[in-house]
Symmetry: C2
Subunit: 427 residues, 2 copies
């Protein structure tokens, strides 16, 4: 074994784990220049016995029992890449209780059990690194605590799920419907066999909880998020949005107003001149506004090398002997966020009404909207004479969500409305 070595115990040898091993092998000298240590993956733990030969190939010993990583007194840091929230939680807890630093890429775990785990790490004075858990290779976690430490964020929003963004991009560029684009994403390895967590916005919501912690220093419960995915987005709305100069993107967003936090995941119209509209395929991007002005960070949210190098950054912070600064705040017990009533929030809106082609329709809808104080910015009605149901699309000026909810209930009860009205926020 090399002198001055720093030993990694790696639990889970899938995409991210092998990415870590690759980056470490490529950058060995670089890592030593930065840390002064020879970094070694000493042991790989994986439930799948067939990973043993891959572990041997990188010079690591192998075990199917991740507890072996904790038991080995030489191992300096336990890297949790097994996923899920049960075994992963137990592994990190046990590692911290045994006095070992921990690094994870597990956003679901930290969204659900972060409060408990950060408290445990703080009590033990240990690192709990999670650079790779938000938007993979995009520098966010240490960046919020470092370069942006002096910036007070007002709003953070982004495209945090590459699978959904790939699907929406294909729907936009090729005119595919959701099912066909999902199938393509699965064929290309961008979507899993069960794509629910990705396309229903849950994965983006996990990341948003972590971003809220970093940007606002508050614990926001996952259950407090309004989450809408993309599985109901129709090609027709992508088409109309484009006519008005917009793209539809799955947006995760959180903002702080008067001490309250409004946060959610939802498909939204993004104007084509906005850099977020140019985030294509499986790329991710995050924009934050605050004292430092609008800042956009764009890159890969997944992939072996991007995510592996993010995990490595955390390990290097441990190896350099830095004081842990896991949450970025002296008191790790973050205040619980006050959640803003979603009905108070003001947005511009896109409505698509499906109506019978007869006189008085436009007048009826317009009058209802005027009655609720919702002002129409742009409108288009396109029908052909043979169609029985006609789409009418309105883009509104900013209106409170409460008024929007009420007017939709009112309009959807009108007898010329043939299907529930489609509506999206406009960023």
């Amino acid at each position: 074994m090399p002198r001055n070595a720093f030993y990694i115990g790696l639990a889970g040898f899938g995409t991210v784990g092998s990415g870590l091993a690759k980056v470490l092998a490529m950058n060995r000298a670089w890592v030593k220049r930065r840390t002064g240590r020879d970094m070694v993956i000493k042991t790989v733990a994986d439930l799948h016995k067939d990973k043993e030969s891959s572990a041997q190939a990188i010079g690591a010993s192998f075990t199917t029992d991740s507890r072996d990583l904790i038991r080995d007194p030489e191992i300096d840091v336990v890297v949790e890449l097994i996923g899920g929230t049960n075994a992963a939680r137990d592994l990190i807890k046990d590692a911290l209780l045994a006095g070992k630093h921990a690094v994870t890429a597990n956003k679901a775990l930290l969204a659900e059990h972060g409060t408990e785990l950060f408290a445990l790490a703080a009590k033990a004075g240990l690192h709990l690194g999670y650079e790779a858990s938000v938007a993979g290779g995009i520098p966010l976690v240490q960046t919020f605590k470092g370069s942006l430490a002096g910036n007070r964020t007002e709003k953070v929003l982004g495209i945090l799920n590459g699978t959904s963004n790939f699907i929406l991009t294909e729907m936009t560029v090729r005119g595919m419907d959701f099912k066909a684009a999902l199938k393509l994403a699965q064929e290309k390895g961008y979507a899993e066999a069960d794509p629910t967590l990705d396309v229903e916005g849950v994965d983006a919501a996990h990341k948003l909880v972590l971003l809220i912690r970093l940007a606002f220093g508050k614990d926001f419960p996952l259950s407090g998020l309004t989450i809408t995915g993309i599985s109901k987005v129709e090609p027709m709305d992508i088409h109309f949005a484009r006519e008005f100069g917009y793209r539809i993107k799955l947006i995760a967003q959180a903002g702080e107003v008067n001490g309250k936090i409004e946060a959610g995941v939802f498909p939204a119209l993004v104007h084509e001149t906005d850099l977020l509209a140019a985030v294509h395929g499986s790329f991710n991007a995050v924009r934050l506004t605050g004292n430092a002005g609008p800042i956009l960070l764009h890159g890969y949210g997944a992939g072996d090398l991007p995510t592996g190098s993010a995990v490595l950054a955390d390990i290097m912070a441990v190896a350099r002997g830095r004081e842990p600064d896991n949450t970025g705040f002296v008191d790790p017990d973050l205040p619980r966020a006050q959640i803003m009533d979603p009905l108070e929030c003001e947005y511009r809106h896109y409505f698509r009404f499906v109506v019978a082609d007869r006189p008085g329709v436009m007048a009826g809808i317009s009058a209802a909207m005027a009655g609720r104080g919702i002002s129409i910015a742009q409108a288009v009605q396109k029908g052909d004479e043979s169609a029985e149901n006609v789409p009418i699309v309105f883009l509104t000026h900013a209106a409170p969500a409460g008024a929007v909810q009420a007017v939709l209930k009112e309009i959807d009860a009108m007898d010329f409305i043939l299907a529930p009205t489609v509506h999206y926020r406009i960023l």
Copy 2:
């Protein structure tokens, strides 16, 4: 004075200094949550006596002698915001020699004297922070050492000068010539009375030297950079570039190939689908490629609050008692970069030939280019019958700079060439 206070000595109370004071006043509670300290600007030093009342307004004492900051045993960090490279260098040297941490936003200083100053800081075990020195509010300096510590950069490039980008944007959007756009930039406060450092690429070059240090861990001498500014960019070339789908941007770029570094500042054609083409007005952006994939960081490169919050981030790193990690490497004595011969570098090129309207011209140019192995990708010739000189524009495939230099010499000697050929690289 508050208990547990952390005292800042501020030298230079201009835009950035007052930005720092504003951000600190707005974010006092936030800064305390992150550092555990009450942060106080104790003394402002400025040569201009008329700043005294502004200093008093933020509760600071005032002096015209910046050495008073060093002499005060209570002051924890000296923040150098006076600019220039002589007095600033002496101030930081003296502060470090007196055992005080230093923070600066001075890119020219660190580009010219960084090696000396980082060595001094390392010897003394003190912080020399410079987050604000590259692209203002964009999180770069601590980010390279933190979130991106495990990433090996292959290439870093960007739009690092807001003044030049504003001028090029106005020339593109409004069809102005350079002089008119410069005048507008001066009227709006984006350009100084003497704009040389900005429009001739020197400011971008200073920042590039710092980026090379961060991204590649090497000392690159400012004198080793090829620097071309924007003062000779003509509206006609912006127009032709647009016809081919490109924007002209002032690009600072450095790449490492086989251990050698190629670096320079130059106007270049950027394709309109590239996010860099959408960096408008006074915004800056940096793209890096490496293990983490392409990453783009976009934001304000200047301005009181963005730059002030970047300076504050450095001060907070000091206040948290972090170990200094100024260069990001254990050995602060960085190896000197081997500079790649610019003639070895391959790029695609844009040529605009100014020719007499007569037979054989296209044949002559094409033959010369074929003779040097330079392959033409796209071409356009637009003349009207009355014009005596006609522009011919070629976009080439990748060709070595040496061959390009040789062919331009050959072509410019041809008798139908009426003016020196204009040429730009294509990103």
